[in-house]
């Protein structure tokens, strides 16, 4: 456990010292920009706009960090040959992957917490109420980030950062559209297209399962079973992706 913690802490430290958290400044600037615009709109909708922009911002910057840090993790270790001193230690290779994964999650957690605090402060300032659903929506955004990070780590275990980045981005975009794609395949009438969209629907994660922004925005009811399903869904994908990454990483020669 101490070894995992050390690996995770080292990844976190790398992200911090490489100034990854500076991205938070852009989030803060974005939110300030939104608040300037708010003066032009009616009082009642201000809180709604802040909620909308805040949740979207947390999601966007989270995905940015997850992909950018995730894709370089293994590649950088191999490229800079730091992998030699790491893999030669009395640790299993899967521990290296897991430690690194936990390190990015640590970074993302700090980032999401700081962004959420800024977001809530702005919301309170403009007289908006803080609702539990808001935190639930943020929690589910974090689940989405966990899956995206695992996707990035999976691709980075065998390909270059550019390719991993593009593939992860593809998974992210398609993952938000799988439901629509499947529906499109069904009505298109082409058997081949139907099969392809069907495979994409079942293989790729459906990121819409983590989207509870509308419920938070309009204070709609959220059923615990829906949340429970999303949590299990995320954990299953994370487990499968980390397992596949470990199998690939285990076989690699350095």
């Amino acid at each position: 456990m101490a070894k995992l913690m050390a690996l995770s802490m080292n990844t976190f430290r790398e992200a911090i010292r490489n100034k990854i958290l500076y991205l938070l400044l852009f989030f803060a600037l974005g939110m300030m920009g939104v608040s300037v615009l708010l003066d032009a709109v009616t009082l009642g909708v201000q809180a709604k706009i802040i909620k909308d922009a805040g949740l979207a911002g947390i999601n966007f910057f989270g995905v940015l960090v997850a992909i950018f840090v995730g894709i370089g993790l293994i590649y950088k270790e191999v490229e800079r040959k730091t992998i030699y001193t790491l893999v030669s230690k009395p640790i299993h290779r899967y521990e290296v992957l897991l430690g690194k994964y936990l390190g990015i999650l640590q970074t993302l957690l700090v980032e999401v917490v700081v962004m959420s605090a800024l977001f809530c402060a702005l919301l309170v300032f403009y007289g908006g109420g803080i609702d539990g659903r808001l935190f639930l929506a943020i929690g589910l955004i974090f689940l989405e980030l966990m899956v995206i990070t695992a996707v990035a780590l999976f691709f980075s275990s065998f390909s270059t950062p550019i390719l991993s980045g593009m593939l992860t981005l593809c998974v992210y975009v398609i993952g938000h559209l799988t439901g629509d794609l499947r529906a499109f395949g069904l009505i298109a009438g082409d058997e081949m297209l139907r099969r392809i969209t069907e495979v994409l629907y079942y293989v790729l994660p459906n990121f819409e399962n983590f989207n509870f922004k509308a419920q938070a925005l309009y204070s709609l009811p959220i059923s615990p079973s829906e949340v429970g399903f999303s949590v299990l869904y995320a954990l299953m994908y994370v487990f499968l992706l980390l397992l596949s990454s470990s199998v690939i990483f285990e076989r690699r020669n350095f």
């Binding site: 101490a2 913690m5 080292n10 490489n18 800079r80 030669s88 009395p90 020669n253």
Partner: protein, 319 residues
């Protein structure tokens, strides 16, 4: 196994023993398979066939790696960390408890106590090498494996690393290190193994492998007549004129005495006399020549006692 499944055999039936407390030099030209051997032992590369064992156990086991400290060739470390943080990180991976005093002692041993809190991105190559040694020693291993610890360093850096190895030797550590810099091996090692073309060619104590008897004498002199110089040629195996100075090599003591008598009779000046013993370098060249006589000509051997590069040695083809 190469790309598209093309098989390349880098190592073949390599087995050697490193005794407790000795410094063992693993020598070979570039491309001979030294780094591959060490990488297999450290679990970085899987052998395509056969097995690799350390302390009688498969070296992929983490319990085996727990007993070994490893410094890769031209090591790179997380440059956002300081020496202290880096060694502390690796200490945790080795499961070393209460490591602070241990790290302090180690940084002191490798002469980095003053730079302990300097980010590694600001450290010189020599300093990085010393940090690398510290991380390899942090868990007090039974065996220290170093891959080309002196390569890429300037003379000062090389001396620093050599001094650390001497200190470790005094402390009774078992060291197995690869090198193609023969002068370093000659000074430090108790025993050496020579690997060429992926196979171990000779192994043993330096004194057993290398004939320490004088094999020839090299002289430099000046101030003798042209006629005398022609007579001198009869005693010499090599004779070279460079400006007013003459460089000669003679193979026996009799010929040496005759040549000195001639210089004295001509009232010439003897500038230097160097007895030449067989060196590790000679043994090395001999082994490579035995493997592929086409590969090494005397001119190809570097002045600093380094060996021909990969192309030169691989011309014979690696199976």
């Amino acid at each position: 196994m190469g790309f598209f499944g093309r098989r390349t055999r880098t190592l073949n039936g390599l087995s050697l023993e490193v005794r407790e407390g000795e410094v063992f030099g693993f020598l070979g030209p570039n491309g001979a398979g030294k780094t591959t051997t060490l990488k297999i032992l450290m679990g970085l590369v899987y052998p395509s066939g056969g097995g690799a064992y350390l302390f009688g156990e498969p070296c992929m086991k983490t319990t085996v790696r727990q007993r070994v400290g490893y410094l890769p060739e031209n090591p790179y470390f997380y440059d956002y960390l300081t020496s202290w943080e880096l060694v502390s990180f690796y200490a945790t991976l080795y499961g070393v408890k209460r490591s602070a005093s241990r790290i302090e002692a180690l940084l002191d041993l490798v002469g980095l106590q003053r730079a302990a809190h300097l980010p590694l991105r600001k450290c010189s190559k020599g300093m990085l090498q010393r940090v690398g040694l510290a991380q390899a020693l942090v868990h007090d291993p039974d065996l220290i494996i170093l891959d080309e610890p002196m390569s890429g360093l300037d003379p000062i850096g090389r001396k620093e690393v050599r001094d650390i190895l001497f200190r470790l030797k005094e402390l009774g550590k078992t060291i197995f290190f690869s090198t193609h810099i023969l002068s370093d091996a000659e000074v430090i090692c108790d025993r050496v193994g020579i690997i060429v073309g992926g196979e171990l060619r000779s192994i043993g104590a330096l004194d057993d492998l290398v004939d320490r008897k004088v094999s020839s004498y090299e002289l430099a002199f000046k101030g003798i007549s042209k006629e005398a110089l022609e007579r001198a040629r009869a005693y010499c195996s090599r004779l070279l004129e460079k400006g007013s100075e003459i460089f000669a090599e003679v193979d026996s003591r009799d010929e040496l005495n005759r040549l000195i008598d001639l210089i004295r009779a001509e009232e010439g000046v003897l500038l230097s006399l160097t007895p030449r013993k067989e060196s590790l370098e000679d043994l090395f060249i001999h082994e490579i020549q035995r493997w592929d006589p086409q590969t090494v000509s005397p001119a190809r051997v570097g002045a600093a006692g380094t060996l021909p590069d990969r192309e030169g040695v691989r011309r014979g083809g690696v199976h």
